[in-house]
C-alpha cells in the first residue's frame, strides 16, 4: 500500500503540470514539484495551509473551480485563470479539477492540476499585439509615473505625443494606450519617416479609381482603416510641411479627402504621434508647424533612454530570454553575472531595441543553459571594452596594483602574513584589512 503511494507520488512529481490535493477543509495535502515551480511556494510551506493562501487564483474568492467540482461532482477541464506567484507576478494557467473519494465512494477532498500558460500567452501577445500597461517592464520612477496615469490618458481620448529616442518603446506605449481605451476600432501604425511624401499622402488618405495612372480601383487610407480606433504616427517629425498642413486639417476639422476624390469623408480617429526628435526645437527652427505641434501636444509623454533607466536592464533581459525561449523553442535559463555586468556598463544608443537584438544574437551562439559574454556580438564587446579602457577610475588602478603587489609578496612568503606585513612596512592588521577590502584570499 505504502509502496503504491510512493509510486504515485514519484509519477506525480515527474510530470510537468502542477498538481495539488486538498481535504474537505481546503487544507493542502499534496503538492508536487511542478506546483512548487509554478507557484514559487515550497511543498513544505504549502502542505497544511489553505489552498487559496498558496494558490492565489483570481477565482479563489468567487467561483473556485475545486469548490464547484466538490459540490457538483463534475470535473472541470482546462479552465483558463491566473494565479499570483510568490514574486508578485500574475501567471496565466489552465486548471482541471476532480473529486477525491475513498474506497467507499465518499468524498474526501479534491485534486487540481494546472498548466503554466505563460509562454503561450506571450506568443499570443506577440501575434496580436494586445499589450497593456502591465506589459511595460520598468522599475524606473519616470516610467512608473507615466504608467500610473496611462489608464486615465487612454480613457480621455485626447491626442497624445510621445517623445523618446529610437528603441525606447514608443510604439509599446501607443499600443498600451489604445488597448486600455474604449475605442472599438483597430490601431493602425504608420511610419512617417519610411515613405516619400506622395506615397505617404495616398497611404494616409487613400485614393479613388483613376486618381492617377496606376489607381485601378479605390483604396482606403489608414484613416479609414483606423475608423473608431487609433492611428499611430511614428517619426512624425519627419513629415513635410505640405503634409503637416493636411494633417492639421484632419485634426482640426475631423475630415479629409481621398486622392482624386471630390467628396469629403468624416473621421473618428484618435491620433497618437511619436518622435525621436524634439518637436519644440523643430518648431523653433521653422521645420514643424507650430499650430500642428499644439494640436498634437495635448498630452505629452517623454520616455527616457535606456541609459537613464539601467535598473530595468535585468528585468528586460529576463523578459527577452522568456520571449526568445518561446519563439525559438529553446530553454536558456539565465545570464552570467559577468555578461550582465557588461550590459549594465553599456550605454545602449539603440535603447531597448538594441538590448533585444543583443539577446537575440546571443540565442544564436548560446547552446548552454546560460548566456555568457562570449555569446554577445563582437561590435558590442568591442564597445564595452573600449569604454572600460577609457574610463577605469584612478582608484581602481591603484587597487589593482596594490592587490598585485600584496599577492606577489604573500606568495613569496608562502602566505605568511607577519612576514608579508613586515616586508611591506605595514602592521599585520592593516594587511588583513587591505586584503579584505581588495578581496584577496590566502594563496
Amino acid at each position: 500500500m505504502a509502496k503504491d503511494q510512493n509510486n504515485s507520488e514519484y509519477i506525480l512529481n515527474a510530470i510537468a503540470d502542477g498538481v495539488f490535493t486538498v481535504d474537505p477543509e481546503w487544507n493542502i495535502t499534496f503538492f508536487n514539484n511542478s506546483a512548487e515551480i509554478i507557484t514559487g511556494t515550497k511543498k513544505t510551506e504549502a502542505i497544511g495551509r489553505k489552498c487559496f493562501e498558496v494558490f492565489r487564483a483570481n477565482i479563489c474568492q468567487s467561483t473556485c473551480a475545486l469548490r464547484e467540482t466538490i459540490k457538483s461532482g463534475k470535473k472541470i477541464i482546462d479552465l483558463p485563470v491566473n494565479i499570483l506567484n510568490n514574486k508578485g507576478q500574475i501567471i496565466p494557467i489552465s486548471v482541471s479539477t476532480s473529486v477525491l473519494r475513498d474506497k467507499g465512494g465518499n468524498i474526501i477532498g479534491g485534486a487540481e492540476t494546472f498548466r503554466d500558460l505563460s509562454i503561450i500567452e506571450l506568443l499570443k501577445k506577440e501575434l496580436t499585439s494586445k499589450y497593456t500597461y502591465a506589459d511595460i517592464i520598468s522599475k524606473n520612477h519616470l516610467i512608473q509615473d507615466i504608467i500610473q496615469i496611462l489608464p486615465d490618458i487612454a480613457k480621455s481620448g485626447s491626442t497624445v505625443l510621445i517623445e523618446g529616442p529610437s528603441g525606447s518603446g514608443k510604439e509599446l506605449f501607443a499600443k498600451a494606450i489604445h488597448n486600455l481605451s474604449n475605442r472599438k476600432g483597430a490601431l493602425i501604425a504608420m511610419n512617417c519617416g519610411a515613405l516619400p511624401d506622395t506615397l505617404l499622402e495616398s497611404e494616409l488618405f487613400g485614393y479613388v479609381k483613376g486618381a492617377f495612372s496606376d489607381a485601378k480601383q479605390d483604396k482606403p487610407g489608414r484613416f479609414k482603416l483606423a475608423e473608431k480606433g487609433t492611428i499611430f504616427f511614428d517619426e512624425i517629425g519627419d513629415i513635410s510641411q505640405a503634409l503637416q498642413l493636411k494633417l492639421l486639417r484632419v485634426l482640426q476639422e475631423k475630415e479629409y479627402e481621398a486622392l482624386g476624390s471630390t467628396t469629403t469623408s468624416k473621421t473618428d480617429v484618435r491620433v497618437i504621434a511619436a518622435t525621436n526628435k524634439n518637436l519644440s526645437d523643430l518648431v523653433a527652427k521653422g521645420d514643424f508647424r507650430e499650430d500642428l505641434f499644439y494640436r498634437l501636444n495635448v498630452v505629452k509623454l517623454e520616455l527616457p533612454p535606456l541609459s537613464r533607466r539601467k535598473e530595468d536592464i535585468p528585468f528586460l533581459v529576463e523578459h527577452f530570454i522568456l520571449k526568445f525561449n518561446a519563439l525559438k523553442g529553446r530553454n536558456i535559463r539565465n545570464i552570467s553575472g559577468h555578461a550582465m555586468d557588461m550590459l549594465m556598463e553599456y550605454d545602449f544608443p539603440g535603447n531597448i531595441r538594441e538590448l533585444e537584438n543583443i539577446i537575440e544574437y546571443a540565442f544564436i551562439l548560446c547552446f548552454e543553459k546560460q548566456i555568457m559574454s562570449q555569446h554577445f556580438p563582437k561590435e558590442f564587446l568591442n564597445n564595452v571594452k573600449l569604454k572600460n579602457t577609457d574610463e577605469i577610475p584612478i582608484n581602481s588602478i591603484i587597487h589593482q596594483s596594490e592587490a598585485k603587489t600584496i599577492l606577489e609578496i604573500l606568495q613569496k612568503y608562502n602566505g605568511n602574513r607577519v612576514k608579508t606585513a613586515s616586508h611591506l612596512g605595514i602592521d599585520k592588521t592593516t594587511l588583513w584589512r587591505k586584503m579584505k577590502k581588495l578581496g584577496i584570499t590566502f594563496p
Binding site: 492565489r56 483570481n58 499570483l84 500574475i90
Partner: protein
C-alpha cells in the same frame, strides 16, 4: 491614520486585486474603532486603488499583491504591508495595538522633553523635536 484590509471569509484576502470586501478602520480610535465594511465585487484593481486614495487610506494590510498594484499604491503614498495571511481581525488587532503602543511611546518621549504636548496630532508628531 486609516487602515484597509481586504478580506475573504474573515481571513486576509489571498489577493488584493480580486478581493470582494474590505475592512476600513481609523487607527486613531484605537482597537475599539468601528470596522467599516466595503463591498468591492467586480472592481478592477485600478478602481480599488482609486477608492483607497479617495478614502484617504494610509496603510493597506493585505495578502498577495502584484507588483504593479503595489507600486501604484506606493505612488499614491499608501503604505503596503503585504503577504499577510490568517484571521483578518487578529492581524488588524495586533497592528492597532502595536500602533497604539508605538504612539504612546512617542508621546511619552515627547512629554519628557516638553511641556506643550496637547497640540500634537498623531500625524504631525514626527515634525516636532522628539527627545
Amino acid at each position: 491614520m486609516k487602515i484597509a484590509v481586504p478580506i475573504f471569509n474573515n481571513q486576509v484576502s489571498p489577493r488584493f486585486d480580486s478581493a470582494r470586501e474590505l475592512i476600513i478602520v481609523d487607527a486613531e480610535d484605537g482597537n475599539s474603532a468601528e470596522r467599516k465594511r466595503i463591498i468591492t465585487i467586480d472592481l478592477p484593481c485600478s478602481e480599488k486603488i482609486q477608492m483607497l486614495v479617495e478614502l484617504k487610506i494610509n496603510t493597506l494590510l493585505c495578502g498577495g499583491i502584484d507588483k504593479m498594484c503595489e507600486q501604484s499604491l506606493k505612488h499614491y503614498g499608501i503604505q503596503v504591508k503585504s503577504w499577510l495571511s490568517g484571521d483578518a481581525e487578529t492581524i488588524l488587532t495586533n497592528y492597532l495595538l502595536n500602533y497604539e503602543k508605538f504612539n504612546k511611546t512617542k508621546l511619552k518621549r515627547y512629554r519628557m522633553g516638553s511641556n506643550d504636548y496637547k497640540t500634537i496630532g498623531n500625524k504631525s508628531i514626527t515634525s516636532f523635536k522628539i527627545i
